[in-house]
């Protein structure tokens, strides 16, 4: 279990690299979605490992919020420079 946790942290670092480097907003959105999926998995692993079920509720709400967050960023993107709001 601990090995799985540390492997998930390593994967999160890999995705965070793209989140920081990514040239455009959309690259960052994709990386953000992947990072939030990994956070959900991390919470689930910790809940099963520690035997505390309320972390699963936290993971559920986090999955919901990450979905809404990514959709909102993609739909309500900032207007191009010097242009009107599309």
């Amino acid at each position: 279990m601990n090995g799985i946790l540390s492997a998930l942290f390593a994967l999160m670092a890999l995705s965070l690299y793209r989140l920081f480097v990514g040239p455009s907003l959309y690259d960052r959105l994709v990386a953000l979605h992947l990072v939030s999926a990994e956070i959900v998995l991390l919470l689930c692993v910790h809940a099963v490992q520690a035997g505390r079920a309320f972390y699963l509720d936290v993971a559920m709400i986090y999955a919901l919020l990450s979905f809404v967050e990514t959709i909102a960023f993609a739909r309500l993107r900032p207007p191009p420079r010097g242009g009107a709001v599309p």
Binding site: L11, S15, L34, L41, G83
Partner: protein, 89 residues
């Protein structure tokens, strides 16, 4: 769980090293969804109580419903911005 971990590893690797946005979307979607699902199924098998297993299954269902939607919306937004003549920043 290990299989899911390997799948997510390929997804994260693809997102980190692939050169184009659409290739990254491809890697993130497929590996992310299948990897997360496999991982959660493994966790359901190891969950102690039926309540925890039911919540894990609920999370699995939710991720299955919403995860393929996000890269679609991101791709459509990217295409719209590219078609509107602006150089996507």
């Amino acid at each position: 769980m290990i299989v899911g971990l390997v799948l997510i590893f390929f997804g994260a690797l693809g997102v980190a090293i692939l050169p184009d946005l659409f290739l990254r979307l491809h890697a993130s979607t497929k590996c992310g969804v299948t990897g997360t699902a496999t991982f959660l199924i493994g966790l359901v098998l190891r969950a102690g109580s039926p309540g925890a297993a039911a919540r894990l299954l609920l999370i699995l269902l939710f991720i299955f419903l919403t995860a393929p939607l996000v890269p679609h919306v991101v791709g459509v937004a990217y295409l719209k911005e590219r078609e509107s003549g602006e150089n996507p920043s």
